[in-house]
Amino acid sequence: MSAQKINKVPEIITPSPGDTTFPEAIHLGNGIPVYLIGNGTVDLLRVEFVFPAGQVMEERHLEASTANAMLTEGTATHDATAINDLIDSTGAALTHAAEKDTAGLVTVTLTRKLDEVMALAQEVMFSPSFPDNEFRMLTDRRVQAFLTNRQKTSVVAREAFYEALCGATSPYGRITREEDYRSLSTDDLRRFHGKHYRPDNMYITVAGREPWQALSVLEKYFSAAGTGRWQKAPLPDPGIDPSEPGFMFREVPNSVQSTVRMGWRGITRNHPDYLELQVATMILGGYFGSRLMRRIREEKGYTYGIHAVAGAFHGTGYITIMTDVANAYRDETLGEIRNEIDKLRNEEVSDDEMTLVRNHLMGEIARMFDGPFAVADAIRGMIDYDTGSVYYTRFAETVRTVTPRRIREVFNTWFNPGEAYEIIAGGR
């Protein structure tokens, strides 16, 4: 206590986001763009390969994630066991990444093992064999994980939300069923792979200490194939077909908690309101002291956590609030969320709260660019969604200048109660 009485409260220096731009791409001999991100302090390199080969490209449900998972299950020269052994002996981590709009591989390797790891990456990405037996085993494992997930209220609520928001036929909204796994064939995967995993359809990021060391190795393994200059092809229309907003209940038997989800159609990253919407969502449910956390966790004690997020895929966006609560509180929780939104639609946020959120977001942006691996993740969003390298400069500017009045307008435009999807997944 004595230190408190003697010492003055330290003055806070308003946080600034630091450098948030990213470097121009360097091109390999055959045109593959490579982004080099330096400033690492240990001898590790993270090399990521990104293809526009995500869910949005699927002709059949699940082929994007399955083709991606099968890359390391066998190639023209090695079976799955040999591939795994080769990767693991280098100490490297090779991670599959299959998302809504992109897919690829992320490797993190000791710099001295880079050559071996890149040789393998090239092999698994460009000459996978999709063997039937490995495919059958992978399918069994995925079905089992799927059946386990069906028992999670959070998963059931999430699926119901995206189905309602994007439509049952859109790749973003399709609900997975067991037969979707079973009806897929290795021929589907070969077709999907052949179409999308091509050297002229990818880019590479290299992050770590002295990332330019990787260039000659990348040239050696990725430059021979394909001569066409890389050009970013437009992604297909995701065929968004939303259903009517309103309330939905999904039963998950024997649950001791329910997941409550509320959400709205959102906007894409290049929409003029997008950055302001990020600030608005932060105020509502983006941090520990947000309106929803204060009310529903800290005052009511209904939940361990509640979060609000606004995000975007190619061609569409979403706003969503999610929380897990005791079954007995789920209706009250929905009511409390509606109240908090109502307040933000009617009353301007105070200057103190705005300053708090501004500073917090500045810190968040700075942390997104803290260290080469973090930067590599941050710039992916900018490349994939064509926001340009000034995206975070613009974001920081919005964070600094957006007014409480404008925030209220954003809530009135995008959080309309009549347009809300409300979902409860839990016990009867």
């Binding site: 206590m1 010492n7 001898d43 100490g91 069994d140 089992q144 800290e298 810190g363």
Partner: protein
């Protein structure tokens, strides 16, 4: 004559400076100029093992209260956010750890906040009541509302009979959390939340001298408090196999096998850490290639160390493929253990585990906050410099040691087994 030069295992050292204040607070600083941020990490030497067996889950509940404000700072998060920082905490069976990561030029805000809540916490009844219900929902969300979520809740009381590791950090039962009150909270706070029972570790873009000056300014004149003595009943050696069968609504059966092992600083820890990596650390590991791919008995098979300070557990955890008999699956696992007790692992396996350890270690050094915690953790184990000695421990593990540790550990009478079966079978 040979000159041995170890090129492969060049050890990357974490440099740090260390001081103890008059108040008993131990302060460690590591400078990392690769980040604009700094992490202040405060570790309190108090975890679930220090709880009353009738009031388990208390250390974790108390961690929640540490965010509930003081007279000086009614909302802990507000100044952290104003300074552009983020903060969080965790509690495990051994310790409770708090950290703030913020832009380096706002470091003093973190010192102010941590010193304030070390002494001036508001333990009013309503804050406590509310956090009791938050923690109850956390208990439900993490352990009861997830398929297989209660596995580890079941394992601890099976494997431990005496030592407080027999309950998990979340608590033995929700009813224990209910019983907490302001008096017990005050007692816990006064006993464990003192400078002499804490370690402050700072890592980031900072000058160590400035950090020591700030530490002196904010913590130096506090009353040290008495460092609580820890007298825990040691777990007696297990003398017969233990078995528990439960039925739950889950899609597939799950097998758990646990074995007692040495403490965190024992040689066994390093041998078993590398050995379990060889068994299940990656896709080419033995369990993945034999139990999952070749025999198709499991859809997933893992083995890991609980990693606690006092003697811990090696835990095998595997989800069965559809239609596999659980006894048959267990036999296949035992066959692998028997092999380890008879034969050396191959040189390639050992080399792989070493390379993987080296990558993991460097990976963990990418983050200043990780380094801050690791230094504090090694200090509470006895010496922060332990962080720089582990490399040698791992690299010197031999094939012979792996055989003998397997013989000592994977014995039938040292085994606790859970058969976690789908309800409809």
């Amino acid at each position: 004559m040979f000159i041995l030069v170890s090129l492969t295992y060049f050890a990357f050292m974490i440099g740090f400076e260390r001081q103890m204040l008059a108040s008993g607070l131990r302060v460690i600083v590591h400078r990392d100029v690769g980040t604009p941020m700094v992490t202040t990490n405060i570790l309190y030497d108090a975890g679930a093992r220090d709880e009353d067996p009738e009031a388990t889950g208390f250390a974790h509940l108390f961690e929640h209260l540490m965010f509930e404000g003081t007279r000086e700072v009614p909302l802990f998060d507000v100044p952290v956010m104003m300074a552009g920082g983020e903060n969080n905490a965790f509690t495990n069976n051994d310790l409770t750890n708090y950290y703030i990561t913020l832009p380096a030029n706002n470091i003093e805000t973190a010192f102010w906040l941590e010193s304030d809540r070390m002494r001036g916490l508001d333990l009013a009844g309503e804050r406590l009541d509310n956090q009791k219900s938050v923690v109850t929902e956390e208990f439900r969300q993490r352990y009861l509302n997830q398929p297989y979520g209660d596995l580890l809740l079941l394992l601890r009381p099976l494997a431990y009979r005496v030592h407080p590791y027999r309950w998990p950090a979340i608590g033995m039962d929700i009813s224990h959390i209910e019983k907490a009150n302001s008096v017990s909270a005050r007692r816990f706070y006064d006993r464990f939340y003192t400078p002499s029972n804490a370690i402050l570790s700072v890592a980031g873009n900072v000058d160590p001298d400035r950090v020591f000056r700030l530490a002196e300014k904010w913590f130096g004149t506090m009353a040290p408090g008495e460092r609580p003595e820890r007298k825990l009943p040691p777990e007696p050696e297990q003398s017969e196999r233990r078995e528990l069968t439960v039925h739950r609504t889950v899609p597939a059966a799950h097998l758990v096998m646990a074995f007692h092992m040495g403490d965190r600083l024992s040689r066994d820890f390093y041998i078993l850490d590398l050995l379990t990596d060889i068994l299940a650390g990656c896709d080419s590991a033995r369990f993945q290639s034999i139990l999952v791919r070749q025999k198709e008995l499991f859809s997933d098979a893992d083995i890991y160390l609980s990693g606690e300070a006092d003697p811990g557990l090696v835990i095998f955890s595997g989800r069965l493929s559809n239609g596999t008999d659980i006894r048959k699956a267990e036999e296949a696992v035992i066959t692998e253990f028997d092999r380890l007790a008879r034969e050396h692992v191959t040189p390639a396996e050992l080399d792989k585990a070493r390379n993987r350890y080296e990558s993991h270690r460097l990976m963990s050094y990418m983050s200043a906050s990780n380094k801050a915690f690791s230094l504090a953790y090694h200090e509470v184990l006895g010496d922060a410099d332990g962080i720089n000695r582990e490399n040698e421990q791992y690299m010197s593990v031999t094939e012979d040691e792996m055989v003998s540790v397997s013989q000592r550990t994977f014995r039938p009478e040292n085994t606790s087994v859970i058969y976690y079966l789908p309800e409809n079978r």
